[in-house]
Symmetry: C2
Subunit: 303 residues, 2 copies
Protein backbone atom coordinates (compact mmCIF):
# COMPACT_ATOMS: atom_id res chain seq x y z
CA UNK A 1 0.00 0.00 0.00
CA UNK A 2 1.50 3.30 -1.06
CA UNK A 3 1.76 5.81 1.76
CA UNK A 4 -0.49 8.71 0.85
CA UNK A 5 1.03 12.09 1.62
CA UNK A 6 -1.24 15.07 2.07
CA UNK A 7 -0.06 18.41 0.81
CA UNK A 8 -1.71 20.68 3.28
CA UNK A 9 -3.19 19.96 6.67
CA UNK A 10 -4.98 22.68 8.61
CA UNK A 11 -5.26 22.12 12.35
CA UNK A 12 -7.79 24.21 14.20
CA UNK A 13 -6.78 24.17 17.85
CA UNK A 14 -3.11 23.24 18.23
CA UNK A 15 -3.21 21.96 21.80
CA UNK A 16 -2.28 18.55 23.12
CA UNK A 17 -4.38 16.64 20.58
CA UNK A 18 -3.90 18.90 17.56
CA UNK A 19 -0.19 19.29 18.23
CA UNK A 20 0.35 15.57 18.74
CA UNK A 21 -1.52 14.75 15.50
CA UNK A 22 0.77 17.19 13.68
CA UNK A 23 3.96 15.80 15.19
CA UNK A 24 2.94 12.18 14.57
CA UNK A 25 2.02 12.74 10.90
CA UNK A 26 5.18 14.71 10.33
CA UNK A 27 7.27 11.97 11.90
CA UNK A 28 5.53 9.42 9.67
CA UNK A 29 6.28 11.59 6.62
CA UNK A 30 2.61 11.88 5.71
CA UNK A 31 2.21 15.62 5.38
CA UNK A 32 4.04 18.33 3.46
CA UNK A 33 2.70 21.49 5.07
CA UNK A 34 0.80 22.15 8.29
CA UNK A 35 -1.03 25.38 9.02
CA UNK A 36 -2.24 26.07 12.54
CA UNK A 37 -5.26 28.10 13.60
CA UNK A 38 -5.74 29.13 17.21
CA UNK A 39 -6.72 31.86 19.60
CA UNK A 40 -3.65 32.08 21.78
CA UNK A 41 -0.75 33.70 19.93
CA UNK A 42 1.68 32.41 22.55
CA UNK A 43 0.52 28.80 22.15
CA UNK A 44 0.66 29.05 18.34
CA UNK A 45 4.22 30.34 18.44
CA UNK A 46 5.14 27.52 20.79
CA UNK A 47 3.61 25.05 18.32
CA UNK A 48 5.65 26.56 15.49
CA UNK A 49 8.85 26.57 17.54
CA UNK A 50 8.30 22.91 18.40
CA UNK A 51 7.94 22.07 14.71
CA UNK A 52 4.31 20.98 15.04
CA UNK A 53 3.13 23.55 12.49
CA UNK A 54 4.89 25.31 9.64
CA UNK A 55 2.77 28.39 9.64
CA UNK A 56 0.33 30.32 11.82
CA UNK A 57 -2.77 31.16 9.79
CA UNK A 58 -3.36 34.84 9.26
CA UNK A 59 -6.99 34.31 8.28
CA UNK A 60 -9.31 31.33 7.77
CA UNK A 61 -9.98 32.09 4.12
CA UNK A 62 -6.37 31.79 2.96
CA UNK A 63 -5.63 28.94 5.37
CA UNK A 64 -8.48 26.81 4.08
CA UNK A 65 -8.52 27.56 0.36
CA UNK A 66 -6.03 24.84 -0.63
CA UNK A 67 -6.39 22.52 2.39
CA UNK A 68 -6.59 18.77 1.80
CA UNK A 69 -7.59 17.94 5.35
CA UNK A 70 -8.94 20.09 8.17
CA UNK A 71 -8.63 18.73 11.69
CA UNK A 72 -10.82 20.23 14.40
CA UNK A 73 -9.08 19.71 17.74
CA UNK A 74 -11.12 22.11 19.83
CA UNK A 75 -13.32 21.79 22.93
CA UNK A 76 -16.59 20.15 21.85
CA UNK A 77 -18.54 23.15 23.11
CA UNK A 78 -16.96 25.28 20.37
CA UNK A 79 -17.76 22.87 17.54
CA UNK A 80 -20.86 24.57 16.12
CA UNK A 81 -19.33 28.02 16.14
CA UNK A 82 -16.11 26.82 14.52
CA UNK A 83 -17.98 24.92 11.81
CA UNK A 84 -19.95 28.08 11.00
CA UNK A 85 -16.69 29.98 10.61
CA UNK A 86 -14.97 27.45 8.35
CA UNK A 87 -17.95 26.44 6.17
CA UNK A 88 -17.81 29.40 3.71
CA UNK A 89 -14.13 28.75 2.98
CA UNK A 90 -14.13 24.97 2.42
CA UNK A 91 -13.49 23.52 -1.02
CA UNK A 92 -15.82 20.56 -1.78
CA UNK A 93 -12.80 18.22 -1.87
CA UNK A 94 -11.43 19.14 1.54
CA UNK A 95 -11.87 16.44 4.16
CA UNK A 96 -12.98 17.62 7.60
CA UNK A 97 -12.46 15.47 10.65
CA UNK A 98 -12.55 16.15 14.39
CA UNK A 99 -11.38 14.89 17.79
CA UNK A 100 -14.45 15.60 19.91
CA UNK A 101 -15.04 13.38 22.94
CA UNK A 102 -18.77 13.11 22.16
CA UNK A 103 -20.00 12.26 18.70
CA UNK A 104 -23.78 12.54 18.37
CA UNK A 105 -23.75 16.23 19.22
CA UNK A 106 -20.81 16.93 16.90
CA UNK A 107 -22.71 15.22 14.08
CA UNK A 108 -25.84 17.24 14.88
CA UNK A 109 -23.77 20.41 14.65
CA UNK A 110 -22.28 19.28 11.32
CA UNK A 111 -25.77 18.62 9.92
CA UNK A 112 -26.61 22.24 10.64
CA UNK A 113 -23.33 24.04 9.94
CA UNK A 114 -21.57 21.79 7.41
CA UNK A 115 -24.72 20.65 5.59
CA UNK A 116 -23.08 21.02 2.15
CA UNK A 117 -20.00 19.17 3.24
CA UNK A 118 -21.23 15.97 4.91
CA UNK A 119 -19.76 13.66 2.22
CA UNK A 120 -16.30 14.76 3.34
CA UNK A 121 -16.98 14.91 7.06
CA UNK A 122 -15.46 12.09 9.15
CA UNK A 123 -16.29 12.32 12.88
CA UNK A 124 -13.54 10.86 15.08
CA UNK A 125 -12.36 10.54 18.66
CA UNK A 126 -8.85 9.65 19.80
CA UNK A 127 -9.35 7.91 23.15
CA UNK A 128 -6.11 9.15 24.62
CA UNK A 129 -6.56 11.13 27.77
CA UNK A 130 -3.90 13.20 29.37
CA UNK A 131 -4.01 15.68 32.20
CA UNK A 132 -1.72 18.10 30.40
CA UNK A 133 -2.80 20.57 27.78
CA UNK A 134 -1.36 23.00 25.25
CA UNK A 135 1.04 22.52 22.35
CA UNK A 136 4.02 22.18 24.69
CA UNK A 137 2.54 18.91 26.01
CA UNK A 138 2.20 17.46 22.49
CA UNK A 139 4.02 14.26 21.55
CA UNK A 140 4.30 12.29 18.29
CA UNK A 141 3.71 9.13 20.38
CA UNK A 142 0.50 10.25 22.12
CA UNK A 143 -1.73 8.05 19.96
CA UNK A 144 0.59 5.03 19.69
CA UNK A 145 -1.47 1.85 20.38
CA UNK A 146 -4.35 3.98 21.61
CA UNK A 147 -7.93 3.57 20.42
CA UNK A 148 -9.21 5.88 17.72
CA UNK A 149 -12.92 5.63 17.01
CA UNK A 150 -14.43 6.87 13.76
CA UNK A 151 -18.20 7.29 13.66
CA UNK A 152 -18.99 7.91 9.97
CA UNK A 153 -22.49 8.99 9.03
CA UNK A 154 -24.51 7.75 6.02
CA UNK A 155 -23.30 10.66 3.93
CA UNK A 156 -19.57 10.11 4.67
CA UNK A 157 -17.80 8.96 1.48
CA UNK A 158 -15.69 5.81 1.47
CA UNK A 159 -12.73 7.80 0.16
CA UNK A 160 -12.82 10.31 2.98
CA UNK A 161 -13.24 7.56 5.58
CA UNK A 162 -10.31 5.61 4.12
CA UNK A 163 -8.08 8.68 4.04
CA UNK A 164 -8.73 9.61 7.67
CA UNK A 165 -8.30 5.98 8.74
CA UNK A 166 -4.87 5.89 7.08
CA UNK A 167 -3.78 9.12 8.73
CA UNK A 168 -4.63 7.84 12.21
CA UNK A 169 -2.98 4.51 11.49
CA UNK A 170 0.14 6.43 10.51
CA UNK A 171 0.01 7.98 13.99
CA UNK A 172 0.13 4.46 15.44
CA UNK A 173 -3.52 4.41 16.57
CA UNK A 174 -5.82 1.38 16.67
CA UNK A 175 -8.66 2.55 14.44
CA UNK A 176 -12.17 1.18 14.83
CA UNK A 177 -15.58 2.19 13.49
CA UNK A 178 -18.96 2.25 15.16
CA UNK A 179 -22.14 4.31 15.25
CA UNK A 180 -22.00 7.63 17.08
CA UNK A 181 -24.75 6.39 19.39
CA UNK A 182 -22.74 3.30 20.33
CA UNK A 183 -19.62 5.44 20.86
CA UNK A 184 -21.46 7.82 23.16
CA UNK A 185 -22.88 4.94 25.23
CA UNK A 186 -19.49 3.27 25.63
CA UNK A 187 -17.67 6.48 26.51
CA UNK A 188 -20.41 7.49 28.95
CA UNK A 189 -19.80 4.22 30.82
CA UNK A 190 -16.00 4.09 30.88
CA UNK A 191 -15.17 7.79 30.90
CA UNK A 192 -17.96 10.32 31.43
CA UNK A 193 -19.66 8.53 34.33
CA UNK A 194 -16.38 7.90 36.24
CA UNK A 195 -15.47 11.57 35.83
CA UNK A 196 -18.85 12.61 37.23
CA UNK A 197 -18.45 10.19 40.15
CA UNK A 198 -14.98 11.48 40.98
CA UNK A 199 -15.99 15.16 40.74
CA UNK A 200 -19.03 14.38 42.91
CA UNK A 201 -16.90 12.67 45.58
CA UNK A 202 -14.64 15.72 45.86
CA UNK A 203 -17.72 17.91 45.97
CA UNK A 204 -19.29 15.67 48.65
CA UNK A 205 -16.13 15.78 50.78
CA UNK A 206 -15.38 19.46 50.41
CA UNK A 207 -18.49 21.45 49.73
CA UNK A 208 -21.00 19.95 52.18
CA UNK A 209 -23.01 22.82 53.66
CA UNK A 210 -24.28 21.06 56.73
CA UNK A 211 -27.72 20.19 55.38
CA UNK A 212 -27.94 16.45 55.66
CA UNK A 213 -24.15 16.35 55.89
CA UNK A 214 -23.11 13.39 58.04
CA UNK A 215 -19.96 15.24 59.13
CA UNK A 216 -21.91 18.15 60.55
CA UNK A 217 -22.64 16.87 64.05
CA UNK A 218 -18.97 16.08 64.67
CA UNK A 219 -17.85 19.34 63.08
CA UNK A 220 -15.44 17.60 60.77
CA UNK A 221 -14.06 20.03 58.21
CA UNK A 222 -12.84 19.10 54.70
CA UNK A 223 -9.16 19.63 55.49
CA UNK A 224 -9.38 17.15 58.35
CA UNK A 225 -11.09 14.59 56.12
CA UNK A 226 -8.44 15.02 53.45
CA UNK A 227 -5.67 14.67 55.98
CA UNK A 228 -6.64 11.01 56.29
CA UNK A 229 -7.08 10.43 52.56
CA UNK A 230 -4.43 8.14 51.13
CA UNK A 231 -3.15 6.85 47.82
CA UNK A 232 -6.42 5.05 47.00
CA UNK A 233 -8.31 8.31 47.32
CA UNK A 234 -5.67 10.13 45.28
CA UNK A 235 -5.98 7.69 42.37
CA UNK A 236 -9.78 7.50 42.58
CA UNK A 237 -10.03 11.28 42.30
CA UNK A 238 -7.24 11.82 39.77
CA UNK A 239 -9.78 12.45 36.99
CA UNK A 240 -11.39 15.14 39.17
CA UNK A 241 -8.25 17.13 38.38
CA UNK A 242 -9.38 17.42 34.75
CA UNK A 243 -10.38 20.64 33.04
CA UNK A 244 -13.76 21.92 34.33
CA UNK A 245 -14.58 23.63 31.01
CA UNK A 246 -13.77 20.54 28.96
CA UNK A 247 -15.83 18.27 31.21
CA UNK A 248 -18.72 20.69 31.35
CA UNK A 249 -18.82 20.49 27.53
CA UNK A 250 -18.47 16.71 27.41
CA UNK A 251 -21.14 16.11 30.05
CA UNK A 252 -23.57 18.50 28.41
CA UNK A 253 -22.69 17.09 24.98
CA UNK A 254 -23.70 13.60 26.08
CA UNK A 255 -26.18 14.51 28.77
CA UNK A 256 -29.10 12.33 27.73
CA UNK A 257 -27.02 9.16 27.75
CA UNK A 258 -25.10 10.24 30.84
CA UNK A 259 -28.31 10.87 32.81
CA UNK A 260 -29.57 7.40 31.88
CA UNK A 261 -26.35 5.83 33.07
CA UNK A 262 -26.29 7.86 36.29
CA UNK A 263 -29.76 6.42 36.98
CA UNK A 264 -28.63 2.83 36.47
CA UNK A 265 -25.47 3.41 38.50
CA UNK A 266 -27.57 4.81 41.34
CA UNK A 267 -29.75 1.70 41.25
CA UNK A 268 -26.60 -0.47 41.51
CA UNK A 269 -25.40 1.61 44.44
CA UNK A 270 -28.79 1.31 46.13
CA UNK A 271 -28.65 -2.48 45.65
CA UNK A 272 -25.26 -2.56 47.34
CA UNK A 273 -26.60 -0.39 50.17
CA UNK A 274 -29.38 -2.96 50.65
CA UNK A 275 -26.76 -5.68 51.11
CA UNK A 276 -25.23 -3.55 53.87
CA UNK A 277 -28.59 -2.93 55.52
CA UNK A 278 -29.36 -6.67 55.38
CA UNK A 279 -25.91 -7.53 56.76
CA UNK A 280 -25.56 -9.74 53.69
CA UNK A 281 -21.82 -10.44 53.75
CA UNK A 282 -22.12 -13.19 51.18
CA UNK A 283 -23.71 -10.97 48.52
CA UNK A 284 -21.29 -8.16 49.30
CA UNK A 285 -18.24 -10.37 48.98
CA UNK A 286 -19.59 -11.84 45.71
CA UNK A 287 -20.06 -8.36 44.23
CA UNK A 288 -16.58 -7.26 45.31
CA UNK A 289 -14.96 -10.48 44.10
CA UNK A 290 -16.63 -10.28 40.67
CA UNK A 291 -15.62 -6.64 40.32
CA UNK A 292 -12.04 -7.44 41.18
CA UNK A 293 -11.97 -10.41 38.82
CA UNK A 294 -13.31 -8.37 35.87
CA UNK A 295 -10.74 -5.70 36.55
CA UNK A 296 -7.94 -8.23 36.75
CA UNK A 297 -8.97 -9.82 33.44
CA UNK A 298 -9.17 -6.40 31.84
CA UNK A 299 -5.70 -5.39 33.02
CA UNK A 300 -4.22 -8.68 31.86
CA UNK A 301 -5.80 -8.22 28.43
CA UNK A 302 -4.66 -4.61 28.11
CA UNK A 303 -1.39 -4.11 26.28
CA UNK B 1 13.08 10.78 76.60
CA UNK B 2 14.46 7.30 77.16
CA UNK B 3 13.56 4.84 74.47
CA UNK B 4 11.40 2.20 76.06
CA UNK B 5 12.26 -1.32 74.93
CA UNK B 6 9.63 -4.01 75.27
CA UNK B 7 10.77 -7.47 76.16
CA UNK B 8 8.18 -9.51 74.35
CA UNK B 9 5.80 -8.54 71.58
CA UNK B 10 3.19 -11.01 70.33
CA UNK B 11 1.82 -10.34 66.87
CA UNK B 12 -1.39 -12.10 65.95
CA UNK B 13 -1.58 -12.11 62.15
CA UNK B 14 1.86 -11.58 60.64
CA UNK B 15 0.78 -10.21 57.24
CA UNK B 16 1.62 -6.87 55.65
CA UNK B 17 0.65 -4.82 58.71
CA UNK B 18 1.81 -7.20 61.43
CA UNK B 19 5.06 -7.96 59.63
CA UNK B 20 5.82 -4.29 58.94
CA UNK B 21 5.16 -3.35 62.58
CA UNK B 22 7.62 -6.07 63.63
CA UNK B 23 10.32 -4.99 61.17
CA UNK B 24 9.93 -1.30 62.03
CA UNK B 25 10.17 -1.84 65.80
CA UNK B 26 13.12 -4.15 65.38
CA UNK B 27 14.90 -1.61 63.20
CA UNK B 28 14.23 1.05 65.84
CA UNK B 29 15.67 -1.24 68.50
CA UNK B 30 12.46 -1.16 70.53
CA UNK B 31 11.79 -4.84 71.04
CA UNK B 32 13.82 -7.80 72.32
CA UNK B 33 11.70 -10.76 71.26
CA UNK B 34 8.81 -11.13 68.81
CA UNK B 35 6.50 -14.13 68.74
CA UNK B 36 4.17 -14.60 65.78
CA UNK B 37 0.76 -16.26 65.77
CA UNK B 38 -0.93 -17.15 62.50
CA UNK B 39 -2.93 -19.72 60.59
CA UNK B 40 -0.72 -20.21 57.55
CA UNK B 41 2.40 -22.19 58.44
CA UNK B 42 4.01 -21.11 55.17
CA UNK B 43 3.45 -17.42 55.86
CA UNK B 44 4.74 -17.76 59.43
CA UNK B 45 7.91 -19.44 58.23
CA UNK B 46 8.37 -16.67 55.68
CA UNK B 47 7.97 -14.10 58.46
CA UNK B 48 10.61 -15.90 60.53
CA UNK B 49 13.00 -16.20 57.58
CA UNK B 50 12.61 -12.48 56.88
CA UNK B 51 13.52 -11.68 60.47
CA UNK B 52 10.12 -10.19 61.31
CA UNK B 53 9.53 -12.67 64.12
CA UNK B 54 11.90 -14.68 66.29
CA UNK B 55 9.54 -17.52 67.00
CA UNK B 56 6.36 -19.11 65.75
CA UNK B 57 3.96 -19.65 68.65
CA UNK B 58 3.18 -23.28 69.40
CA UNK B 59 0.11 -22.36 71.46
CA UNK B 60 -1.57 -19.15 72.64
CA UNK B 61 -1.14 -19.91 76.30
CA UNK B 62 2.66 -20.06 76.26
CA UNK B 63 2.94 -17.25 73.70
CA UNK B 64 0.88 -14.83 75.81
CA UNK B 65 1.95 -15.68 79.35
CA UNK B 66 4.88 -13.25 79.44
CA UNK B 67 3.85 -10.84 76.68
CA UNK B 68 4.25 -7.10 77.26
CA UNK B 69 2.29 -6.09 74.20
CA UNK B 70 -0.12 -8.02 71.96
CA UNK B 71 -0.78 -6.61 68.50
CA UNK B 72 -3.88 -7.80 66.65
CA UNK B 73 -3.22 -7.41 62.91
CA UNK B 74 -6.06 -9.54 61.61
CA UNK B 75 -9.09 -8.90 59.36
CA UNK B 76 -11.65 -6.92 61.38
CA UNK B 77 -14.21 -9.68 60.84
CA UNK B 78 -12.11 -12.02 62.99
CA UNK B 79 -11.70 -9.60 65.88
CA UNK B 80 -14.36 -10.99 68.23
CA UNK B 81 -13.29 -14.59 67.80
CA UNK B 82 -9.61 -13.77 68.29
CA UNK B 83 -10.31 -11.75 71.42
CA UNK B 84 -12.27 -14.69 72.87
CA UNK B 85 -9.27 -16.93 72.24
CA UNK B 86 -6.65 -14.66 73.82
CA UNK B 87 -8.68 -13.38 76.80
CA UNK B 88 -8.10 -16.38 79.12
CA UNK B 89 -4.33 -16.17 78.65
CA UNK B 90 -3.74 -12.43 79.13
CA UNK B 91 -1.89 -11.12 82.17
CA UNK B 92 -3.51 -7.96 83.59
CA UNK B 93 -0.39 -5.94 82.69
CA UNK B 94 -0.27 -6.94 79.03
CA UNK B 95 -1.20 -4.14 76.63
CA UNK B 96 -3.47 -5.13 73.75
CA UNK B 97 -3.71 -2.97 70.64
CA UNK B 98 -5.05 -3.55 67.14
CA UNK B 99 -4.88 -2.36 63.54
CA UNK B 100 -8.52 -2.68 62.48
CA UNK B 101 -9.80 -0.34 59.76
CA UNK B 102 -13.03 0.31 61.67
CA UNK B 103 -13.01 1.21 65.33
CA UNK B 104 -16.50 1.36 66.86
CA UNK B 105 -17.14 -2.32 66.09
CA UNK B 106 -13.71 -3.40 67.37
CA UNK B 107 -14.42 -1.53 70.61
CA UNK B 108 -17.85 -3.19 70.89
CA UNK B 109 -16.16 -6.57 70.49
CA UNK B 110 -13.59 -5.68 73.16
CA UNK B 111 -16.36 -4.66 75.60
CA UNK B 112 -17.79 -8.16 75.22
CA UNK B 113 -14.68 -10.32 74.88
CA UNK B 114 -11.97 -8.33 76.70
CA UNK B 115 -14.24 -6.90 79.39
CA UNK B 116 -11.67 -7.51 82.16
CA UNK B 117 -8.88 -5.99 80.12
CA UNK B 118 -10.22 -2.65 78.88
CA UNK B 119 -7.74 -0.57 80.94
CA UNK B 120 -4.93 -2.01 78.80
CA UNK B 121 -6.78 -1.99 75.47
CA UNK B 122 -5.68 0.69 72.96
CA UNK B 123 -7.67 0.62 69.69
CA UNK B 124 -5.61 1.82 66.71
CA UNK B 125 -5.60 2.10 62.94
CA UNK B 126 -2.55 2.61 60.74
CA UNK B 127 -3.88 4.46 57.69
CA UNK B 128 -1.43 2.89 55.28
CA UNK B 129 -3.09 1.04 52.48
CA UNK B 130 -1.30 -1.29 50.15
CA UNK B 131 -2.54 -3.68 47.53
CA UNK B 132 -0.10 -6.37 48.56
CA UNK B 133 -0.57 -8.77 51.44
CA UNK B 134 1.33 -11.38 53.40
CA UNK B 135 4.57 -11.23 55.39
CA UNK B 136 6.67 -11.16 52.24
CA UNK B 137 5.22 -7.72 51.40
CA UNK B 138 6.16 -6.31 54.81
CA UNK B 139 8.54 -3.36 55.09
CA UNK B 140 10.02 -1.48 58.06
CA UNK B 141 9.16 1.75 56.22
CA UNK B 142 5.46 1.05 55.60
CA UNK B 143 4.28 3.43 58.33
CA UNK B 144 6.88 6.16 57.80
CA UNK B 145 5.09 9.56 57.74
CA UNK B 146 1.73 7.79 57.52
CA UNK B 147 -1.22 8.56 59.77
CA UNK B 148 -1.82 6.35 62.75
CA UNK B 149 -5.06 6.98 64.61
CA UNK B 150 -5.59 5.85 68.19
CA UNK B 151 -9.16 5.84 69.49
CA UNK B 152 -8.81 5.25 73.25
CA UNK B 153 -11.93 4.53 75.28
CA UNK B 154 -12.76 5.92 78.72
CA UNK B 155 -11.28 2.84 80.36
CA UNK B 156 -7.94 2.99 78.51
CA UNK B 157 -5.15 3.87 80.96
CA UNK B 158 -2.81 6.78 80.24
CA UNK B 159 0.17 4.45 80.61
CA UNK B 160 -1.07 2.02 77.96
CA UNK B 161 -1.97 4.86 75.60
CA UNK B 162 1.45 6.44 76.03
CA UNK B 163 3.24 3.15 75.46
CA UNK B 164 1.38 2.37 72.22
CA UNK B 165 1.85 5.95 71.00
CA UNK B 166 5.61 5.63 71.50
CA UNK B 167 5.77 2.33 69.63
CA UNK B 168 4.03 3.79 66.60
CA UNK B 169 6.17 6.91 66.71
CA UNK B 170 9.22 4.63 66.69
CA UNK B 171 7.80 3.18 63.42
CA UNK B 172 7.85 6.70 61.96
CA UNK B 173 4.06 7.17 62.03
CA UNK B 174 2.20 10.44 62.63
CA UNK B 175 0.12 9.52 65.65
CA UNK B 176 -3.17 11.27 66.37
CA UNK B 177 -6.08 10.62 68.73
CA UNK B 178 -9.79 10.97 68.20
CA UNK B 179 -13.05 9.28 69.16
CA UNK B 180 -13.87 5.99 67.42
CA UNK B 181 -17.04 7.57 66.08
CA UNK B 182 -15.11 10.44 64.50
CA UNK B 183 -12.57 8.00 63.06
CA UNK B 184 -15.30 5.88 61.49
CA UNK B 185 -16.97 8.93 59.92
CA UNK B 186 -13.73 10.23 58.44
CA UNK B 187 -12.64 6.86 57.09
CA UNK B 188 -16.11 6.21 55.66
CA UNK B 189 -15.77 9.42 53.64
CA UNK B 190 -12.20 9.14 52.37
CA UNK B 191 -11.84 5.37 52.14
CA UNK B 192 -14.92 3.17 52.56
CA UNK B 193 -17.23 5.21 50.32
CA UNK B 194 -14.67 5.50 47.46
CA UNK B 195 -14.09 1.74 47.62
CA UNK B 196 -17.84 1.11 47.40
CA UNK B 197 -18.12 3.54 44.45
CA UNK B 198 -15.26 1.86 42.58
CA UNK B 199 -16.54 -1.68 43.20
CA UNK B 200 -20.00 -0.52 42.10
CA UNK B 201 -18.65 0.98 38.86
CA UNK B 202 -16.95 -2.29 37.93
CA UNK B 203 -20.13 -4.13 38.83
CA UNK B 204 -22.21 -1.68 36.75
CA UNK B 205 -19.92 -2.10 33.74
CA UNK B 206 -19.51 -5.85 33.93
CA UNK B 207 -22.44 -7.49 35.58
CA UNK B 208 -25.43 -5.66 34.07
CA UNK B 209 -28.08 -8.28 33.36
CA UNK B 210 -30.11 -6.34 30.83
CA UNK B 211 -32.77 -5.12 33.23
CA UNK B 212 -32.66 -1.38 32.93
CA UNK B 213 -29.17 -1.71 31.50
CA UNK B 214 -28.53 1.15 29.04
CA UNK B 215 -26.11 -1.04 27.06
CA UNK B 216 -28.72 -3.67 26.42
CA UNK B 217 -30.39 -2.26 23.31
CA UNK B 218 -27.06 -1.88 21.51
CA UNK B 219 -25.85 -5.26 22.73
CA UNK B 220 -22.65 -3.82 24.09
CA UNK B 221 -20.82 -6.44 26.15
CA UNK B 222 -18.44 -5.70 29.06
CA UNK B 223 -15.28 -6.63 27.16
CA UNK B 224 -16.12 -4.08 24.46
CA UNK B 225 -16.73 -1.40 27.08
CA UNK B 226 -13.46 -2.16 28.78
CA UNK B 227 -11.58 -2.07 25.50
CA UNK B 228 -12.20 1.67 25.45
CA UNK B 229 -11.37 2.24 29.09
CA UNK B 230 -8.17 4.20 29.55
CA UNK B 231 -5.78 5.28 32.27
CA UNK B 232 -8.39 7.43 34.03
CA UNK B 233 -10.64 4.39 34.41
CA UNK B 234 -7.70 2.27 35.53
CA UNK B 235 -6.80 4.69 38.34
CA UNK B 236 -10.43 5.28 39.34
CA UNK B 237 -10.99 1.54 39.76
CA UNK B 238 -7.62 0.67 41.28
CA UNK B 239 -9.19 0.27 44.73
CA UNK B 240 -11.71 -2.20 43.23
CA UNK B 241 -8.70 -4.52 43.01
CA UNK B 242 -8.63 -4.75 46.82
CA UNK B 243 -9.40 -7.89 48.82
CA UNK B 244 -13.14 -8.76 48.70
CA UNK B 245 -13.05 -10.44 52.13
CA UNK B 246 -11.29 -7.51 53.75
CA UNK B 247 -13.68 -4.98 52.23
CA UNK B 248 -16.74 -7.04 53.06
CA UNK B 249 -15.60 -6.91 56.71
CA UNK B 250 -14.80 -3.19 56.64
CA UNK B 251 -18.11 -2.26 54.98
CA UNK B 252 -20.14 -4.40 57.37
CA UNK B 253 -18.04 -3.17 60.30
CA UNK B 254 -18.99 0.43 59.52
CA UNK B 255 -22.28 -0.14 57.78
CA UNK B 256 -24.45 2.32 59.67
CA UNK B 257 -22.14 5.25 58.91
CA UNK B 258 -21.45 4.02 55.39
CA UNK B 259 -25.16 3.78 54.55
CA UNK B 260 -25.68 7.35 55.77
CA UNK B 261 -22.84 8.59 53.60
CA UNK B 262 -24.03 6.63 50.55
CA UNK B 263 -27.37 8.45 50.97
CA UNK B 264 -25.76 11.88 51.05
CA UNK B 265 -23.49 11.00 48.12
CA UNK B 266 -26.55 9.88 46.14
CA UNK B 267 -28.18 13.24 46.85
CA UNK B 268 -25.06 15.05 45.58
CA UNK B 269 -25.10 12.90 42.44
CA UNK B 270 -28.80 13.60 41.92
CA UNK B 271 -28.10 17.34 42.24
CA UNK B 272 -25.43 17.07 39.57
CA UNK B 273 -27.84 15.11 37.36
CA UNK B 274 -30.31 17.97 37.74
CA UNK B 275 -27.69 20.39 36.42
CA UNK B 276 -27.37 18.17 33.35
CA UNK B 277 -31.13 17.94 32.85
CA UNK B 278 -31.40 21.73 33.15
CA UNK B 279 -28.49 22.23 30.75
CA UNK B 280 -26.94 24.35 33.49
CA UNK B 281 -23.37 24.64 32.24
CA UNK B 282 -22.52 27.35 34.72
CA UNK B 283 -23.42 25.27 37.80
CA UNK B 284 -21.70 22.22 36.33
CA UNK B 285 -18.48 24.10 35.64
CA UNK B 286 -18.56 25.65 39.12
CA UNK B 287 -18.90 22.21 40.74
CA UNK B 288 -16.09 20.74 38.65
CA UNK B 289 -13.83 23.76 39.22
CA UNK B 290 -14.33 23.68 42.99
CA UNK B 291 -13.67 19.94 43.08
CA UNK B 292 -10.48 20.36 41.12
CA UNK B 293 -9.34 23.25 43.29
CA UNK B 294 -9.89 21.33 46.54
CA UNK B 295 -7.98 18.38 45.15
CA UNK B 296 -5.12 20.61 44.03
CA UNK B 297 -4.87 22.25 47.45
CA UNK B 298 -4.95 18.85 49.10
CA UNK B 299 -2.14 17.48 46.92
CA UNK B 300 -0.02 20.57 47.48
CA UNK B 301 -0.46 20.23 51.22
CA UNK B 302 0.32 16.50 51.27
CA UNK B 303 3.92 15.62 52.01
Amino acid sequence: MANVVINKLVIIGVGLIGGSFALALRKAGRVSHITGVGRSRENMERARDLGAIDEIASDLSSALKDADVVFLAIPVGQTGQTMTQIAPHLRPGTIVTDAGSTKQNVISAARVHLAEHLHNFVPGHPVAGAELSGASAASPELFRDKNLVLTPIDETSETALKRVTELWQACGAQVSQMSARRHDKILAAVSHLPHVLAFTLMSYICCGNGTGDPMHDEEIIPSELLRFAGSGFRDFTRIAGSSPEMWRDICLGNREELCKQIDVYQRELTALREMLVNDDGKALEKTFAESREWRKQWLEGTP
